[in-house]
């Protein structure tokens, strides 16, 4: 089978259930195995039956690679391994492997325990599934088998997120997963090697048309509203997801608290998942940003100086404070409980994440100035507090995508994980500005692209020697004295100029075994077994 075949099972012209099957050089790799959070029916999982030889996934797929622990990239994995029966190798980074169970278990609980849905996979499934995972380090080349080599690169986005490079024989591809080209307070920017000679890059395109300017404006706004609120004695509620954003904001605040000497205003973390996550972050310090790694020797940045854990009894204690609570969209749980208590006071502040699902309190707050919010039939909350919407995002913007594509200069680009019309715009931009062929397939589409093939040649020792050393012959002296001039004007010294025309030059020949070989020009005659003839003019 020549060329590269991409079957997009998920995240084709949409965001959710990322899953791409790439077949090349006789290998078949599944990149990500995510679920769609927006659906509860069978659309929530990728349509695995489309995988060739779907009767035996273990045989059909060479391996599965998961880029990071977000559910839209890993959510379907236990289902696929434990229910669908895939039993082959699975690769992900150490942090992803460590944090994935937290995510999956949390999701399972919400689905089954709270909403009473039918169970897709059990806790045991999660455990056994993750036992099959091989954890990898960054930039570590892994031989999946004799032909397939994979390597992870730092992607930013969330802790442990990676881009994956895969190479079979002469063809090489990169699957980016989600990534961020701008570093934030706790994660670095995505970073990958330059000279990878890629046939294909499959990149996310969440912000296919947005160009975001300085991240500092966002930080400044956030710090300003929080500081102003606590300075006037108000309470700040930051509903957030447990992993990622919480740590980012917390580092930002902790640092600010330290600099501005705000010791007397406590920052709280609500109990549960978040603290556990902080513990993981502390262990995974090597995957964070440069600054955090640098300062690690003196202090672990996730040992927040000003952060304490929150007791329910403190809910109505007087005085200013900042509280991080889950879940992020105030859809229930502890953040809703706190919201009910704090929202009625205009002194207080509630921040909202950049994106809230319709139907959640967060969404209602976002869409206009709601003064009264019905929480259930009995309760209605009078919202008088200030609302601040965060605009932090762990995804790269369109300039970042362009920069990465330009940097990698692959022969082809496939866009996934984005909105259809915006992807089309970006696709046009990539082909017109960078001159690279670009595709934006829908779910279940197949894209065929040609792959490279290199011919290996031998090189003779003389040729190699000639390439790596300066050859005196290349220094050609050009005495600058024109014969007429030189004779007359003895005072002018001849200026010696030298040209160094160093190039690797050789001759490509086929040797007796029909193997191509590069040789030095001096060797040619001997190789061909021909005598040298010289012609002299009388």
């Amino acid at each position: 089978m020549a060329g590269i075949e991409c079957l997009v099972l998920g995240a084709g012209q949409e965001v959710g259930k990322s899953c791409v099957i790439v077949s090349f050089g006789g290998k078949r790799i599944m990149f990500d195995c995510g679920m769609h959070m927006g659906y509860l029916d069978n659309r929530r999982y990728p349509d695995f039956s489309r995988i060739p030889d779907s009767s035996d996934f273990t045989k059909s797929l060479t391996c599965i690679i998961v880029t990071h622990f977000h559910l839209d990239h890993i959510g379907a994995l236990p289902y696929f391994t434990e229910v669908c029966g895939y039993d082959g190798p699975i690769y992900m980074t150490y942090p992803t492997k460590a944090l994935a169970p937290l995510m999956l278990e949390d999701y399972r609980k919400v689905m089954v325990d709270r909403r009473g849905e039918e169970e897709q996979f059990t806790s045991e499934h999660i455990t056994t599934c993750l036992k099959k995972v091989t954890a990898v380090d960054l930039k570590q080349s892994i031989k999946v088998d004799d032909d397939l080599e994979i390597r992870a690169y730092y992607a930013g986005h969330v802790i442990g997120a990676a881009m994956f490079y895969a190479k079979v024989k002469d063809s090489a591809i990169v699957y980016t997963g989600d990534y961020n080209m701008t570093p934030d307070r706790h994660l670095g920017a995505a970073s990958i090697d330059k000279f990878l000679h890629l046939d294909l890059v499959i990149t996310e395109s969440t912000y296919a048309t947005t160009v975001r300017d300085s991240k500092y404006a966002r930080e400044r706004e956030f710090l300003k509203v929080v500081h102003e609120c606590v300075a006037k004695g108000g309470k700040v509620l930051i509903p957030t997801f447990a992993l990622g954003r919480a740590q980012e904001l917390c580092i930002l605040l902790d640092d600010y608290w330290e600099r501005m000497n705000l010791k007397n205003v406590p920052i709280y973390f609500s109990a549960g998942l978040t603290l556990q996550a902080n513990m993981y972050y502390k262990m995974l310090i090597g995957w964070t940003s440069q600054k955090i790694k640098d300062s690690y020797a003196t202090r672990n940045a996730f040992d927040f100086k000003h952060v304490r854990s929150f007791e329910r009894s403190m809910l109505n204690a007087p005085g200013p404070c900042v509280l991080f609570a889950t879940p992020g969209m105030i859809s229930g749980g502890f953040s809703l409980e706190v919201f009910k208590q704090w929202a009625p006071s205009e002194m207080n502040l509630v921040t909202l994440p950049g994106y809230c699902v319709a139907g959640t309190i967060g969404h209602k707050l976002m869409s206009g100035k709601a003064t009264k919010i019905k929480i259930d039939k009995k309760t209605e909350v009078d919202v008088r507090c200030k609302i601040h919407q965060l605009s932090f995002s762990p995804h790269t913007d369109s300039k970042g995508i362009m920069d990465l594509v330009k940097f990698l200069s692959p022969k082809h680009v496939i866009l996934v994980h984005g909105e259809k019309p915006k992807m089309a715009t970006l696709k046009g931009k990539i082909s017109s500005e960078l001159g690279i062929k670009c595709y934006d397939p829908a779910n279940n589409d197949v894209v065929h692209i040609p792959s490279s093939q290199y011919v290996k040649i031998d090189a003779s020792e003389a040729f190699v020697h000639n390439c790596i050393n300066p050859n005196p012959k290349h220094f050609e002296s050009k005495a600058d004295n024109d014969s007429d001039m030189g004779a007359k004007d003895t005072a002018s010294m001849p200026v010696k100029e030298i040209e160094d025309k160093r190039v690797a030059e050789g001759i490509l020949v086929m040797d007796k075994a029909k193997r191509p070989k590069a040789v030095h020009q001096n060797e040619l005659l001997a190789m061909l077994g021909v005598e040298e003839h010289t012609i002299e003019f009388a």
Partner: protein, 980 residues
């Protein structure tokens, strides 16, 4: 001594055994051991010279044998010898040199041998030897260049300059090495190219261009150290305009000024295309994966101050502006091979500031600061980004950011807006002392454009004071500076916070409060600016400042002494009896208590002052019961004041002298700024100066003015930018002004020392010389005449003070004597340039005896409302009242009366026997002869002193002065109306 001999003998035996008899593996080991012992002998400073010379002999002998496997060690030892021992450099040099020549190959041993030679020469400092030995030149150099050993190739590049090799050859060889397969060789070659300063003189554009092209190629090298070196080289050459080689300045320019000169030349050529292309090229590097490359790239961007503004603006936003999209096609004119999408520049600095690595962010901050000088709009937008950097989590970056802002402020391009204030002032409560200090440094220079900004700045500082008591002195100082710069806002602020300062109803003065002191400092600052009309509220507030005298004066010690401050405060308090109701109207009752001289609060203030007073003057006999201060003390502090003014002028004159090199290098803006500061400083001094040092101050003031004019004049002669040159009309005016000023300095004062007078005369000479080079601003014979007469004054003074004339004066003298007869403009231009080079401005050291010759002129009861009567066509009498200060009997004074075009001079005679009095009052009825035929007119009158040494003849009809006048007073306008 004995052990030394034994050790040596053993070594010698083993070495000779190895070299002469048996060089097997076994003896090789012994030999190495022996060499190790030899090294110990060499580095041990107590080893006798005798042994050392034996060691040397043996080593030299070994080199002649062909056991090459130990030559490496021997050479090393010779190098040690050269380093540690003072003797025998010649032997080492000769031996090793012969050895190197004898080898005739390019092996590492040859290179090592050469390295030894270099070391030995460096020690004996006989560089000349090498360059004179022509054999150590091209051939050897080329031989080593083709070495197959990487280390030899790196060595030869690093030491290429020690060989007798032409620049052209070097460039080609380095260029060749930029394609070496080994990255470190490539890097060394690039660095070598950068350091080839002689390149400026190379006339070959193609050579420079190929350097550039190679560098650009290497920007995409696989090795990061090569890429970063390439980034540096790129920028170096890119400042190099093709036309530059034709311009004479370039060849003259000193190496250190190279970059600057090139950049300026660029602008002159008016072609920004090349520079823009380079800018875009470097922008492509800022997204490199290597931190080093990014750091260098950002640093390089900062060097390119002359890049087009639209490019710069685009670097501040990732979004490509519509305007910029249109541009895309225009840019790429110069570089042929490389594609340069202008979109490269989009948001470059945003990326830099967002970078994960603090060194990159820091580098970006620095570069942004450098570039803000170029364009106003860019400066404003860059500031928006910089402000956000104050939130950076790395202290170093925040600090750099503040330093950048400070830099911008000194260059007058820091336009802070209201919306920045919150972010900016938050750094005043930063837990890091350095950050707070840097912020205050910026605040000192910041222009606060409205009251809100001012108030928030002051409140920020007060918060700073609350949280960090240790910053008090610096905060007070900043408050003072801000107050002086924004006195109206300051007055406003003080009035609003008056309640806090005023002793509370419980009768306790809050002298413990730093906050109160801070506001008082603001009040003092404001009052100094409003000296003439200090409102009574300020006066009252100032009284409260006395208890804080120690604290406040400590923090203002760079501005005034405690005595001065005390004198000032007590001076202000004397006027306290004026009604304060004017300000407070109906609130009068609140304050009326205070007016009572015996009120308890005032007494309390006095009590607090007393101890301080004692410390200052060593007397306790102060009448504290009286509300007014003992006049004798006030007086004594005035004495202090005089001294201080004299002392304070010194540093100002020092700064003035320091501007001379700046003037020479054409940094007019910096000069103006520095001199403006000087003027302000002098203005501050004059606040509390009195008659006796008024002369000094007035002179200093004139001097500063003259320097400022000189700075402006200068750029017409030695322009950094060509286009100014054409505006000679302006130049004419400037030179006239400068001449007038210099005359005023020369004739408007008396009591100069010889040195002082010489200084002024040389200044005058300099202007003459400048004039000579431009025929359109001088009538040459006149100037030459003036030159000669001034020179003869100089000569006379030198003889009188037995001082050696300066080089400048001497050269000028001989120039005047040999001066060519033909009117060759070029000759003058050339000579004057040469002469100007000789001129150097020393710091003016003022004696204390200087008297300001000046006059006051008035016509009592005359103004536009009350004109004098006259009959048209008839003479009209004008009753002048004239005060003359420090005029001496030799001075020829004229009263100049001007009506429109017509001028009448009146010679002033007065009693010449009144000598010791420096102030004369003269009442004079002067007739003005030619009244115009009009219903009313006004006449301008002025008193001038004849400049006796000046050459100019005034051929005026009415028998006016024979020389140019220097004016001693401001023009006075006199009004007339026809008698009805």
């Amino acid at each position: 001594m004995e052990t030394e001999r034994l050790v040596w003998e053993k070594c010698d035996r083993e070495l000779s055994c190895y070299t002469n008899i048996d060089s097997s593996d076994k003896t090789h080991l012994c030999c190495l051991k022996a060499l190790a012992s030899v090294r110990a002998l060499i580095v041990n400073s107590s080893t006798s010279d005798e042994t050392i010379s034996r060691v040397l002999d043996t080593l030299v002998r070994i080199l002649h044998h062909d056991q090459e496997n130990i030559h490496h060690h021997v050479l090393k030892l010779l190098s040690d010898l050269a380093l540690h021992r003072d003797l025998s450099h010649t032997t080492i040099f000769d031996t090793v040199y012969a050895y190197a020549l004898g080898r005739k190959d390019a092996s590492p041993l040859t290179a090592e041998a050469l390295a030894v030679i270099v070391t030995s020469m460096e020690r004996s400092q006989s560089f000349s030897k090498l360059s004179s030995s022509s054999e150590l030149s091209e051939n050897l150099f080329l031989l080593l260049c083709s070495s197959s050993s990487v280390s030899v190739r790196s060595w030869i590049i690093l030491n290429a300059k020690r060989f007798n090799v032409g620049t052209c050859l070097l460039v080609t060889v380095f260029l060749g090495f930029t394609s070496d397969p080994y990255p470190y060789v490539r890097r060394a070659a690039l660095d070598g190219l950068v350091s080839l300063k002689e390149l400026a003189n190379v006339q070959k554009h193609d050579l420079i261009e190929s350097c550039y092209d190679r560098a650009v190629e290497l920007l995409i090298d696989t090795n990061e150290c090569v890429r970063s070196a390439a980034t540096r080289v790129t920028i170096r050459y890119d400042c190099y305009p093709e036309e530059a080689a034709d311009l004479p300045q370039l060849k003259e320019s000193k190496v250190s000024e190279w970059g600057v000169v090139l950049a300026t030349l660029y602008n002159e050529v008016g072609d920004k295309g090349w520079l823009d292309a380079v800018f875009i090229q470097v922008c492509a590097m800022v997204r490199d994966t290597s931190v080093e490359v990014r750091t260098v790239a950002f640093a390089s961007l900062g060097q390119m101050k002359l890049v087009s503004e639209d490019l710069l603006l685009q670097t501040l936003s990732k979004k490509i502006t519509i305007h910029f999209k249109k541009r895309k096609t225009i840019v790429l004119c110069t570089s042929k091979k490389f594609d340069l999408p202008a979109s490269n520049v989009a948001g470059v600095f945003v990326h830099g500031l967002e970078d994960e690595f603090s060194e990159v962010r820091k580098s970006t901050c620095i570069s942004l600061g450098k570039l803000t000088i170029s364009y106003v709009q860019f400066a404003e937008e860059a500031l928006n980004l910089l402000m956000d950097m104050l939130n950076d989590d790395i202290t170093e970056v925040r600090l750099q950011c503040l330093q950048t802002m400070y830099h911008m402020a000194t260059l007058d391009c820091l336009k802070v807006q209201q919306l920045h204030m919150h972010m900016f002032l938050s750094t005043l409560v930063d837990s890091n002392t350095l950050i707070r200090c840097a912020t205050r440094k910026v605040l000192r220079l910041m222009k606060l454009t409205n009251l809100d900004m001012f108030n928030s700045a002051i409140n920020g500082l007060l918060t700073n004071l609350d949280s960090y008591v240790e910053d008090e002195a610096d905060i007070f100082n900043v408050l003072f500076k801000i107050g002086r710069g924004h006195s109206n806002f300051a007055v406003n602020f003080v009035k609003e916070t008056f309640d806090e300062i005023e002793p509370s109803c419980e009768g306790e003065l809050r002298i413990d409060k730093a906050r109160v002191a801070a506001i008082l400092v603001l009040a003092i600052a404001a009052s100094l600016t409003h000296e003439q009309h200090i409102s009574s509220i300020l006066r009252r507030v100032l009284t409260y400042a006395i208890p804080f005298l120690g604290r406040i004066s400590y923090s203002l010690r760079d501005v005034m002494s405690q005595d001065t401050l005390f004198a000032y405060l007590s001076y202000c308090s004397r006027f306290l009896h004026s009604p304060i109701a004017e300000i407070f109207g109906q609130e009068e009752h609140c304050f009326s208590v205070v007016e009572d001289a015996s009120n308890p609060y005032s007494k309390e203030i006095i009590k607090h002052v007393t101890p301080l007073h004692q410390v200052s003057y060593g007397t306790s006999e102060i009448n504290c019961q009286d509300n007014s201060w003992d006049p004798s003390h006030t007086f004594s502090s005035q004495e202090y004041q005089q001294k201080e003014a004299t002392h304070a002028i010194g540093p100002v004159l020092k700064i003035v002298a320091d501007t001379w090199p700046l003037i020479k290098s054409g940094c007019t803006d910096e000069v103006c700024r520095a001199l403006r500061d000087c003027k302000e400083e002098l203005a501050t001094l004059s606040v509390d100066s009195d008659e006796s040092d008024a002369g000094l101050l007035a002179f200093a003031y004139q001097y500063v003015r003259s320097m400022k004019l000189l700075g402006k004049v200068w750029m017409h002669f030695y322009p950094p930018r060509k286009f100014i040159g054409s505006r000679t009309g302006l130049l004419d005016l400037l030179v006239e002004k400068l001449d007038m000023n210099l005359r005023r300095m020369r004739y408007g004062f008396w009591g100069f020392s010889v040195e002082e007078e010489l200084h002024i005369l040389e200044f005058i000479l300099l202007i003459c010389v400048l004039r000579l080079s431009k025929p359109d601003i001088c009538y040459r014979p006149t100037i030459l005449k003036r030159l000669r007469s001034t020179l003869s004054c100089v000569e006379h003074l030198c003889q009188k003070g037995s001082i050696k004339p300066s080089d400048f004066a001497r050269e000028l003298n001989s120039f005047c004597q040999e001066e060519s007869s033909d009117d060759d403009g070029l000759y003058y231009a050339f000579s004057s340039k040469r002469l100007v080079e000789l001129f150097s401005l020393q710091q003016f050291v003022l004696g204390e005896k200087l008297k300001h010759i000046k006059a006051d002129l008035s016509v009592p009861d005359n103004d536009s409302e009350n004109p004098l009567p006259f009959i048209a066509g008839f003479p009209a009498a004008i009753p002048f009242e004239i005060w003359l200060h420090n005029v001496c009997s030799e001075d020829r004074l004229w009263l100049k009366l001007t009506v429109e075009e017509f001028t009448q001079y009146v010679f002033l005679t007065f009693d010449k026997h009144e000598d010791n009095d420096c102030l004369k009052k003269v009442a004079l009825n002067v007739p003005f002869y030619t009244t115009p035929k009009a219903a009313s007119f006004s006449l301008r009158a002025c008193i001038g002193k004849e400049c006796l040494f000046d050459d100019l003849q005034m051929a005026k009809g009415l028998g006016g002065p024979k020389h140019e006048l220097t004016y001693l007073c401001n023009e006075k306008e006199v009004y007339f109306v026809t008698r009805s």
